[in-house]
């Protein structure tokens, strides 16, 4: 029987298309593994009752010679922030525990039209407002590399689902790093596209001007496949002529920031990866300084607080006691931010985007670790990094959040394991709307760095 943790979309598609592996068998195997792991890892909030029925239908289409796409008959796990017509959408909350959306989110509909089977809705940080996935209502999503540690969030359930092979891909949302953080901590590939590239229709918002949605998968090629399907355009293809084939890549690297803020364990793996990349691929490292790193972080926080408070107002009036207190306090904070402060934050964002574009004039991409620390233990609230005390939440999103404010695409690919056998992610970002170029660079580096083994829990 095929193990989805060891394969990729393109790898299994050949087997499914020829019916050497049947969609019904894949779904049965995934459900078996979910039932074995879900109590320990808290991956799913809902499982589809229709998944086998959908698989039977799609199998029949294959028997008749119809194949809709590379995702035909393959299971996808969807964060519980996306509307699904056949399952509730809770947003990881109790407030919406019985909410049955009237339709699928736009990107979910596109995946289903392409033949994907939505196997279930994954656990998340409540209302996507947090990066630990410690959910008081549906449990703490645990890391398959070490179950006393968190998966990271807020799309933690989708990242774990992909990591342990109970689906071929997952969907997440990313407002400050919610796709990239759990992907990095769980050893999979997570992609945040340029702001606006993928539809947010039918997605519970956190912060409408910063929200993005994207895939969590096993390989960069899997990102391309799902992205093409969800945009309805051929952004990338195997036949495409490489823009960088004969040219040296110039990679901006914020060395000072890394040396000051990234833990020794992560730094060691990161520099080893940079060594491999520079020795085996035609590229040059250019040291850059991002002196406005704290400013853009502060502006983003003001924006998220304000926009989330506006969305949650209807529930803050009478249902405030039903929130995770930590999430509620942050949302309530948004009520005390005045309009001029919010607008100033948006203006700063625009100003810093101009500075970023100026910096990127002679660069192809920026490269840095995705998360400066290893996956924290469940009980950790604060950590010491480079002799500085830092809150877990702050540390987790420290290196990802600026790319949401800048609107750029950013990807995390696994780049190795720490001495403690925990995954480290390498983050690459380009200019806004250079998604195709970013995937091309990421695929090249993935080829140099190789893939991680499966997490110990399924070995």
């Amino acid at each position: 029987m095929v193990d989805l943790a060891k394969t990729s979309i393109r790898g299994i598609h050949r087997e499914v298309r020829s019916l050497r592996i049947k969609p019904t068998k894949i779904i049965e195997e995934c459900l078996r593994r979910i039932h074995r792991l879900n109590d320990a890892l808290r991956i799913f909030i809902h499982l589809s009752e229709e998944a086998i029925k959908h698989a039977e239908y799609l199998e029949k289409e294959l028997e008749e010679g119809k194949c809709r796409s590379e995702l035909h008959g393959l299971p996808i796990a969807v964060k519980d922030a996306f509307y699904t017509y056949d399952m509730p959408t809770t947003g990881g909350s109790i407030i919406l525990k019985d909410y049955k959306p009237p339709k699928d989110a736009e990107v979910v509909r596109k995946l289903r039209d392409a033949g994907a089977i939505i196997i279930g809705k994954t656990n998340m940080h409540e209302f996507a407002f947090g990066v630990t996935n410690k959910n008081p209502h549906y449990g703490v999503t645990r890391n398959p590399w070490s179950i006393d540690r968190i998966s990271g969030g807020s799309s933690g359930g989708s990242a774990v689902a992909v990591s342990v092979g109970v689906c071929i891909g997952g969907l997440g949302t990313d407002t400050a790093g919610s796709i990239r953080i759990p992907s990095a901590l769980c050893g999979v590939v997570g992609y945040k596209p340029s702001n606006g590239l993928l539809s947010l229709d039918g997605v519970i918002p956190l912060s409408h001007s910063l929200d993005t949605v994207g895939p969590i998968v096993k390989t960069v090629d899997d990102v391309s496949i799902t992205l093409n399907i969800m945009t309805g355009k051929v952004l990338t293809s195997q036949e495409r002529v490489s823009e960088y084939e004969d040219r040296e890549l110039r990679l901006g690297l914020p060395r000072k920031l890394i040396e000051e803020w990234v833990s020794d364990e992560v730094e060691e793996v990161f520099w080893r990866s940079i060594g491999k990349i520079t020795s085996r691929s035609n590229c040059r490292i250019v040291d850059i300084e991002i002196e406005w790193f704290k400013t853009i972080s502060d502006a983003r926080y003001i924006i998220v607080l304000s926009e989330s408070a506006a969305f949650h107002l209807k529930w803050l009036r009478n249902r405030w006691s039903e929130y995770d207190p930590d999430v509620r306090d942050r949302i309530l904070g948004g009520l005390f931010i005045t309009a001029p402060v919010y607008i100033q934050a948006q203006m700063i964002r625009k100003s810093l985007k101009r500075k970023f574009l100026k910096m990127m004039k002679n660069l192809d991409a920026v490269i840095l670790p995705t998360v400066p620390i290893e996956a924290p233990r469940v009980e950790d609230e604060e950590l010491i990094v480079k002799n500085k005390k830092i809150g877990v939440r702050r540390a987790l999103l420290f290196l990802t959040e600026c790319f949401n404010s800048l609107g750029t695409p950013a990807i995390t690919i696994p780049c190795g394991l720490t001495k403690g056998n925990l995954p480290v992610g390498l983050q690459i970002a380009t200019k806004p709307y250079e998604d195709t170029q970013l995937l091309e660079i990421a695929e090249r580096f993935e080829g140099v760095l190789g893939r991680l083994p499966e997490p110990p829990i399924i070995r």
Partner: protein, 47 residues
């Protein structure tokens, strides 16, 4: 500010609770220096 927030949003949350939250936000805004950002490079006239 507190009175405005309670009235226009019709909140039932206890006031002392909101006071603590508002105080944290004001401290954050002050520490962030977000209102002192220099837009000179964006062609905005100086003070």
């Amino acid at each position: 500010m507190m009175e405005m927030v309670r009235r226009i949003y019709s909140l039932t949350i206890p006031e002392e609770f909101l006071l603590k939250i508002s105080e944290n936000i004001y401290k954050f805004i002050e520490a962030s220096k977000i209102l002192e950002y220099d837009f000179v490079e964006d062609n905005v006239p100086e003070e």
